[in-house]
Amino acid sequence: MDFELSEEQRMLKDSVDRLMADEYDFDQRKKHLKGPHGFSDGVWSQFAELGLLALPFSEADGGFGGGPIETMLVMESLGHGLSLEPYFASVVLCGGLLRHAGSPEQRAHWAPQIASGEKKFAFAHAERHSRYDIGHVETKAVAQDGGYVLNGEKSLVLNGDAADMLIVSARVSGGARDRDGIGLFIVDARAPGVTRRGYALQDDRRAAEITLHNVKVDAQHVLGAPGKAFDAIERTMGEAIVAACAEAVGCMDEMHKQTVEYLKTRKQFGVTIGSFQALQHRAVEMFVALEQARSITMYATMLAASDDAEERRRAISAAKAQVGRSIRFVGQQAIQLHGGVGMTHELKVGHYFKRATVIDMFGGDADYHLAKIADAGGLAS
């Protein structure tokens, strides 16, 4: 049992923290937001230079062999900075799919392109009625000429509008929610038959609705065995949920810090409002909720790569449930304790509240994951 970071991990964390400190104060962030895709290409290049984009890939694939802990460190730091860059979509989600489903050739071909920042990826997976079911795929893939033809509608595709490449899930057989029969396909985002409509999210990141109309995919761009992709999707989504939890911890940490700072400086009735016991206790309750979220995220991080699928799933659901509930409490109280100014667009705390809320809605809310744990017979081993 060891909660210390290795020397390399500490350096990694410091470098991302520094990047956020240097490039992501509130005014800089506003500027990044005005970039062509709603983020900063310059910062993205620095992600690449620091090796962040190569982090999760094996050394054989030109990466640094980072695991869930390294991803946690990066995501928490990005959460602190409220980064707008598509790290989560391109590296965590699509990098994960490539690692879990890709052939050595595919990994050798694509990993360096993700790692260099040259190609940005997006995972076109969710559909209109899939909600939190990662096995829900109605988009069709029909074999043709040794490759496949895709038809269907993809929704809420994170980074969908800025992506160069899409990884599309589509069904080669079975019904809408069958675990069997799902394939993954690498598609050029500008390929004929791909239509994208991009939009902003509540937290300033961007996503797209994507229509696939007779989109042709060559055999070499089929990721893994067609029809057998569910496991890779599940592992990737599990890792992504844990990464999102880490990002939320970064957001909550900031909300808590800013709230405590506000309590120390804001005066009312002639004293700092932090001298009121009821507000002190609320700040402590936020702290407890934050630390519980941090702890369970560490737990899930350490089990995210476990080969025991049951243990892994429960740990991930436990993390998302606790983090979800902490997000609600910490976020709502951060606004409440800031009072009126907390409601304004001009203060950073509301932006953390919004990012955290969007994360809460990713991959299943607390109720969804508690039900999963309950159906699995509970958490304790």
Partner: protein, 399 residues
């Protein structure tokens, strides 16, 4: 003890319902159901429809357009309009400055201002809060210095709701800087077109523009615009804030939102299953309904006791209405967030005359997250829930 309305009250309720059914414009009603904010034009149209009927300022003295309804009828009217759902009338005129003017103003002021309020010919906003004051309203710094037959006003107000539309602002200003906190404050009416006034929007976290900062730079205000006596403004403000409690729980509005959430949960599918078929969802909703029903009874108890209480001295127990009422307004909007799920995430921009197309998912989803964000305000404004608890602790529990 009898929970039921009298036959007379039931007839009245039916009359209100029928009127709302026939006269609330369909486009306004639709907008309210969809969770959009009514436009200035919507507000004006609706107020004038009510005013024509004689119902715009129902709680005012009959002389100035009031109806003479009992508190129970006032309550029924308010609940029915919220449930319709119709826009709530602009409170700054109807519930705030209007009552101050007919209670403390002179005859000239009454004639000048009251009819225009009732018909929303003039849009009012409220100049009480100042930067840094928060719940400590009396710490205000904006000054009004008498020079001949004018006051020269300097300072800044904030959280001024819908000041962007306002023709007039009613203000608390400091006229005697030497007096202690609550003394030395006066109540002034200021034409927003007076030179020296600047309105700057405050954008809130939901992306909306409801509130503003208002700056006053050597603004010359005729002395006749003083309400009541100089340096007695704090008394009028307390009177006004006491009136503000009427309907503060917004039970009718929360009821309407509950119906809406049920309807959305019945329309939204998780795969093949409707969300409303999830027992856990239904139980969460049931708990909100139970708490709301209890609060409605609490509201009625306060209301029933109201008639026996001195006007302008609200029941301290009405702080319960603010606390629980705001918690439930927030709870139903949080549950709506759960219903929208991933489709709460897309952001839809408000454009000049309405809204652009919804970016993704069901049409209705785009107002869900903004409403969740926006309604965090209801436990902050009008005396935060923490302040309300202080009030109950002191005034009711004697702690």
């Amino acid at each position: 003890m009898d929970l039921n309305f009298t036959p007379d009250e039931i007839a009245f309720r039916d009359e209100v319902r029928a009127f709302l059914k026939d006269h609330l414009p369909a486009d306004i009603r639709e907008k309210m159901i969809e969770g959009h904010h009514p436009s200035k034009d919507d507000m004006v149209r609706w107020t004038r429809i009510l005013n024509k009927k004689g119902w715009a300022v129902s709680h005012w003295p009959k002389e100035w357009g009031g109806t003479g309804w009992s508190p129970v009828k006032q309550y029924i009217f308010q609940e029915e309009t919220m449930a319709a759902p119709a826009p709530q009338l602009l409170p700054f005129g109807v519930s705030m400055v209007g009552p101050v003017i007919y209670t403390f103003g002179n005859e000239a002021q009454k004639k000048r201002y009251l009819p225009a309020i009732a018909n929303l010919d003039e849009w009012w906003c409220q100049g009480f809060s100042e930067p840094g004051a928060g719940s400590d309203l009396a710490s205000l710094k904006t000054t009004a210095k008498r020079e001949g037959d004018h006051y020269i006003v300097n300072g800044q107000k904030t959280w001024t709701t819908l000041a962007q539309y306002a023709d007039w602002i009613f203000m608390l200003v400091r006229t005697d800087p030497a007096a202690k906190k609550q003394e030395g404050i006066s109540f002034l009416l200021i034409d927003m077109k007076t030179p020296g006034i600047t309105v700057r929007p405050i954008v809130t976290i939901d992306g909306g523009h409801e509130v503003n900062e208002v700056f006053f730079d050597d603004v010359r205000v005729p002395a006749e615009n003083l309400v009541g006596q100089e340096n007695k403004g704090w008394d009028y403000a307390k009177f006004l804030l006491g009136n503000e409690r009427v309907g503060i729980a917004r039970i009718g509005m929360t009821k309407e939102r509950i119906r809406r959430v049920k309807q959305l949960a019945a329309s939204e599918r998780d795969g093949e299953r409707r969300l409303i078929d999830d027992p856990r969802f239904r139980e969460k909703l049931a708990w909100i309904e139970v708490e709301l029903k209890a609060l409605e009874m609490t509201q009625m108890r306060v209301l029933a006791a109201e008639s026996k209480r001195e006007r302008g001295k609200p029941d301290p127990a009405s702080s319960i209405l603010k606390i629980k009422g705001s918690e439930l307004q927030q709870a139903i909007r949080e549950l709506a967030l759960d219903v929208a799920g991933p489709y709460a995430a897309p952001y839809r921009e408000e454009v000049e005359h309405g809204w652009n197309e919804p970016p993704a998912g069901p049409d209705w989803a785009s107002t869900i997250a903004p409403a969740y964000f926006n309604y965090r305000k209801v436990s902050i404004y009008g005396g935060s829930n923490e302040i309300q608890k202080n009030i109950i602790a002191k005034a009711v529990l004697g702690l």
